[in-house]
């Protein structure tokens, strides 16, 4: 146990944090590889090797170092640093709201990197990324409040270990989160800011002016981010028992598989649809669920 300004941090928490630091990029890379393989099979192609994302990254690092603005690299590195910090907070069991705000910080650095080049394509991508942030942020925050009301704490360590199986009370929030998760994973139909599908992208969106090492860093950011996002899914299931932990892991994998299907099943939607539908889903599923929780709390059925 370590006492950090009045809060006990167990060695287990530090261990899970370190494990995230080391293995998240590995897992993220593998997920990306499997994603590409499954996608290829769905499209009737053979697909690249599972480790292709890793090879891509190595190749990107080997490219000639060029940039359009001296400041761009700094912003992307900041983005990576804050993405790692976010994951560390999460996997070491920190405060969920802090995790979300730090995650926002990482996204903000990415957008700033896009803006800083003053390139038309990059800027359009950055503004679209911003729109997506505005779309998904309410749902993500609502999810945190929902988990808090059910589990009585914003600390991830408490939420994971506390008795209630959150999804029973938070089914609506879960659906809402699933909906906005497509945006966070940058999957079609909501891959407005940067896409893996070249045919529907404005040049290369936000990443138009990123190249070589900067681009490789961005890939690593995505690996870290995807693992973190699946971690949120896990929170809905875990109550500390082995069974629920196993179900949680399976749910994460199933969720990602679902995202792959959606990604391949839809073309990119217009931003108006992405925004409106995102908020409507948030209000209907997140908002109604919140009000239900409010009454459950009022009648003493949840919370301490």
């Amino acid at each position: 146990m370590i006492n950090f300004f009045g809060t006990e941090i167990s060695f287990m928490q530090i261990l899970t944090g370190v494990l995230y630091l080391v293995f998240a990029p590995v897992i993220g890379c593998l997920i990306a590889g499997i994603d590409r393989k499954i996608t290829a099979r769905m499209q009737g192609r053979f697909g690249p090797p599972i480790l292709q994302p890793y090879y891509d990254m190595r190749k990107l690092f080997a490219k000639e170092a060029i940039t359009v603005r001296g400041s761009q690299e700094l912003f992307v590195v900041c983005c990576l640093i804050f993405m790692i910090i976010t994951g560390l907070f999460f996997f070491a069991g920190g405060n969920l709201l802090m995790v979300i705000f730090t995650l926002t910080m990482a996204s903000v650095f990415l957008i700033v990197a896009g803006f800083s080049s003053n390139s038309p394509f990059s800027q359009i991508g950055a503004e679209r990324e911003l729109l997506l942030m505005m779309t998904y942020e309410p749902m993500v925050l609502l999810m945190a409040v929902g988990l808090y009301l059910v589990n009585g704490s914003f600390d991830v360590s408490e939420i994971v270990m506390s008795d209630p199986i959150s999804i029973i009370y938070l089914a609506g929030m879960f659906i809402g989160y699933m909906y906005v998760l497509t945006m966070k994973f940058r999957k079609s139909p909501f891959d407005l800011s940067m896409s893996h599908h070249a045919h529907q992208e404005l040049v290369k969106g936000l990443t138009t002016e990123f190249s070589g090492g900067t681009m490789a860093v961005l890939e690593i950011v995505h690996w870290y981010e995807n693992v973190l996002l699946l971690g949120f899914v896990f929170l809905f299931f875990s109550n500390g028992t082995v069974l629920m932990v196993a179900i949680g892991v399976v749910a994460c994998l199933a969720m990602y598989f679902l995202e792959i299907i959606i990604d391949n099943g839809y073309a990119r939607m217009k931003w108006q649809f992405a925004f409106k539908s995102g908020w409507i889903m948030t209000i209907i599923f997140g908002g109604v669920n919140l009000i239900v929780l409010y009454y459950l709390k009022l009648f003493g059925l949840i919370g301490a």
């Binding site: 950090f4 300004f5 009045g6 809060t7 170092a65 060029i66 940039t67 359009v68 603005r69 001296g70 400041s71 700094l74 900041c78 640093i81 920190g94 405060n95 709201l97 802090m98 705000f101 730090t102 910080m105 903000v108 957008i111 700033v112 803006f115 800083s116 080049s117 003053n118 390139s119 038309p120 394509f121 950055a126 503004e127 911003l130 729109l131 942030m133 505005m134 779309t135 942020e137 309410p138 925050l141 609502l142 409040v145 808090y148 009301l149 914003f154 040049v203 138009t208 002016e209 070589g212 108006q272 908020w279 209000i283 908002g287 919140l290 009000i291 929780l293 409010y294 709390k297 009022l298």
Partner: protein, 665 residues
């Protein structure tokens, strides 16, 4: 306690001196000197008087009587002044409001009020000390900034005429009245200072006499604030008649005891509701937000003063002060707590949405002020210690950051001749220092780990803990919108546009020193605020909310605050150390045509040079400004009507009851 009297009297004396000075050469040193003295006095007062206890300033009965009579005379004179102005510009509503409230108060003072004994006229507790420091430091800093700014303003706006002596008179008078508001325990005195701030803002907004818009907007501000003043008077009269007191502290004691025992005297919600209504008008909450937006026609220092340290802060001060008496007890409670929470929440959401479509920097700032005040008001309405903790932190962070941003925009406006965000394209090339200050200010408004975000986090936590969990919906949507409009502005600031000429050497030194100082203050306070929270805010909360332990008063745990601070330091270090350093080869942009080399033109079809222009995204179809205001105004009007009708019902019931008891009414 002599310092307390000095805080009110010294700015007053300076204000009178200002009226007499016509030359800039003499004025500037006096303004700077006076600002330093006021700042030093406020800090000295803060350092020597901090403590958990409320400190009382004793006045002899005779002295209080004299001051009270003087106030009545001045109030009558002010009412006549308003009537004169109203007749002159044919704004009869202002005349009517003045002619109702002032006679009502004077009648009360001469009859019932005369017999009421007041124990404590002036006091200070930690919250008023915080306000004193905000007013003393930021308010006087803005006066110093004005010495540089007003030179240019007079040059650029010859039609406005040079009324600078009157301008500085109002600025210092404003500071004096603000000090008065935050230390008055006697509500009649507080009302006196309250009315003076209303009048000061009226004259400041109408500074450019030649502009019809300025006159109209100044009267809108006057009328809305007079309406609030009317409710203030009604609150005082009701309190005086039923409780035989006009002291704020007695009102709060009765209210908190009523809340604890469940036996609230029926007139208390009426008084609290009336005072809160006055607070809502002054804090420019919907449906009264239009006066603050209209206030933009005034010179920038006025806007900065109204938005950051004075005027609107008086409104939220009163509401936060009333917070222990607010809160929603039952599901069908449509009393003052309900009113304040909903008006604040709705204002936060819809003002944020209205800001989205604005490209005028000052309008963005104005809407953001309205929205942030809404959040403060909503937190105060929740009426729990952690929510008030968040509210007080918001007040502090907002005062520092918003004054910085207003002054930066003012300086930019004078040098690039536009206050449009679109014209700030590439500001980083033209005025790098100013752009850096603005980036700090903008980050401070919305970005983790800076101040305002911490307050928003605290608000979310406090609200989730309270009985008003539905308020979370307003906060999550509102803060997402906030993110959008600040971020796109920040994007404009960080964009590096090639080949821009540096024009920042024309800026006055007074402006540099103040904007630089405020930038430092934003960062310094972000890093040190847990210390201030422990030493000032927490002791105030444990005093104001009975039965709250020190550990439960803060909405956020210390460990999280420390982590946030470490992150601030990390961001600053990274950017200061690494900004602009690269050993990569710098290449031109991709332009879907041959880049002509300046990153601003490309060779299009038919060998024609095509210039590029980048514009921000305003989503005006999605969030039309007018519609957002309309929805906000309608919803808040319904809420206000509902509550006021309910409160009127209580008054009628009480009168009926008194009559049946053979009462004096």
């Amino acid at each position: 306690m002599g310092v307390l009297a000095l805080l009110i009297l010294f700015p007053l004396i300076i204000a009178l001196i200002m009226l007499a000075i016509k030359s800039d050469k003499i004025r500037t040193p006096i303004v700077v000197g006076a600002a330093i003295v006021i700042g030093a006095l406020s800090i000295f007062f803060a350092v020597t008087n901090l403590g958990s206890e409320m400190k009382v300033m004793w006045l002899s009965a005779g002295a209080a009587e004299i001051v009270g009579n003087a106030m009545i005379v001045i109030e009558a004179a002010l009412a006549l002044l308003i009537v004169y102005q109203g007749l002159k510009y044919k704004k009869y509503l202002a005349c009517i409001l003045a002619l109702v409230q002032t006679p009502l108060l004077i009648w009360f003072e001469l009859t019932k009020g005369h017999d009421i004994k007041t124990e404590t006229f002036l006091y200070s507790d930690n919250f008023s000390i915080i306000m004193i420091v905000i007013i003393g430091v930021i308010g006087s800093a803005i006066c110093v900034y004005a010495t540089g700014y007003m030179k240019d303003f007079t040059k650029h706006h010859p039609d406005a005429g040079d009324r600078r002596p009157f301008f500085y008179f109002l600025m210092f008078l404003f500071l004096s009245a603000m000090f008065g508001i935050v230390i008055s325990n006697n509500l009649v005195w507080m009302y006196f200072f309250w009315e003076i701030t209303t009048l000061c803002s009226f004259f400041l907004i109408g500074y450019s006499k030649g502009l019809k818009e300025a006159i109209n907007n100044s009267f809108r501000a006057l009328i809305m604030n007079l309406l609030g003043g009317l409710f203030f008077v009604v609150g005082i009269v009701v309190l005086g008649y039923f409780a035989e007191t006009v002291e704020l502290s007695s009102l709060l004691t009765m209210a908190t005891e009523g809340k604890a025992t469940g036996q609230m005297m029926p007139f208390i919600p009426v008084v609290v509701g009336c005072l809160a209504f006055a607070g809502l008008t002054k804090a420019a909450q919907m449906p009264f937000s239009s006066w603050l937006l209209g206030a933009m026609v005034a010179p920038t220092p006025t806007s900065a003063l109204l938005h950051s340290s004075t005027m609107v802060k008086a409104g939220v001060f009163l509401i936060v002060k009333l917070s222990p008496a607010l809160g929603v007890n039952t599901m069908f409670d449509i009393g003052p707590g309900f009113m304040v929470i909903l008006v604040g929440g709705v204002t936060f959401l819809f003002a944020s949405m209205a800001a989205l479509s604005q490209s005028n920097a000052k309008r963005v700032l104005a809407y953001s002020t309205v929205a942030n005040l809404g959040l403060i008001v909503a937190c105060a309405g929740v009426g729990t210690a952690p929510a008030v903790w968040a509210a007080i932190l918001l007040i502090i962070f907002h005062a520092v950051t918003k004054s910085l941003l207003f002054l930066c925009v003012g300086t930019a406006e004078h040098n690039i001749r536009s206050r449009d965000i679109e014209d700030m394209d590439g500001l980083f090339g033209r005025m790098p220092r100013l752009a850096a200050f603005m980036i700090v200010g903008i980050s401070g408004m919305f970005l983790a780990p800076f101040g305002m975000l911490i307050s928003k986090w605290a608000a979310l936590q406090a609200v989730a803990d309270s009985n008003d969990a539905w308020l979370v919906l307003f906060i999550v949507f509102g803060s997402s919108v906030t993110l959008f409009y600040w971020m796109k502005w920040l994007g404009k600031m960080v964009a590096v546009v090639a080949n821009r000429e540096n024009i920042q050497q024309n800026v006055h030194n007074a402006e540099w020193s103040i904007t630089g100082g405020l930038t430092g203050l934003v960062i310094a306070f972000t890093i040190t605020f847990p210390f201030f929270s422990h030493t000032t805010i927490v002791p105030y909360l444990t005093g104001a909310f009975k039965g709250i332990s020190e550990a439960n008063a803060e909405a956020l745990r210390t460990d999280n605050l420390i982590i946030m601070i470490v992150m601030v330091v990390l961001v600053l270090c990274l950017i200061l150390l690494l900004y602009g350093r690269t050993n990569k080869r710098v290449v031109p942009l991709y332009m879907s045509g041959v880049n002509k080399g300046d990153d601003l033109t490309y060779e299009g079809a038919m060998q024609k040079d095509v210039p590029i222009a980048l514009r921000n995204w305003y989503l005006a179809d999605m969030f039309p400004e007018k519609l957002m205001n309309k929805i906000g105004n309608i919803v808040t009007c319904v809420v206000l009507t509902l509550t006021l009708t309910y409160l009127l019902g209580i008054v009628l019931y009480m009168l009926d009851y008194l009559k049946s008891m053979g009462g004096v009414l």
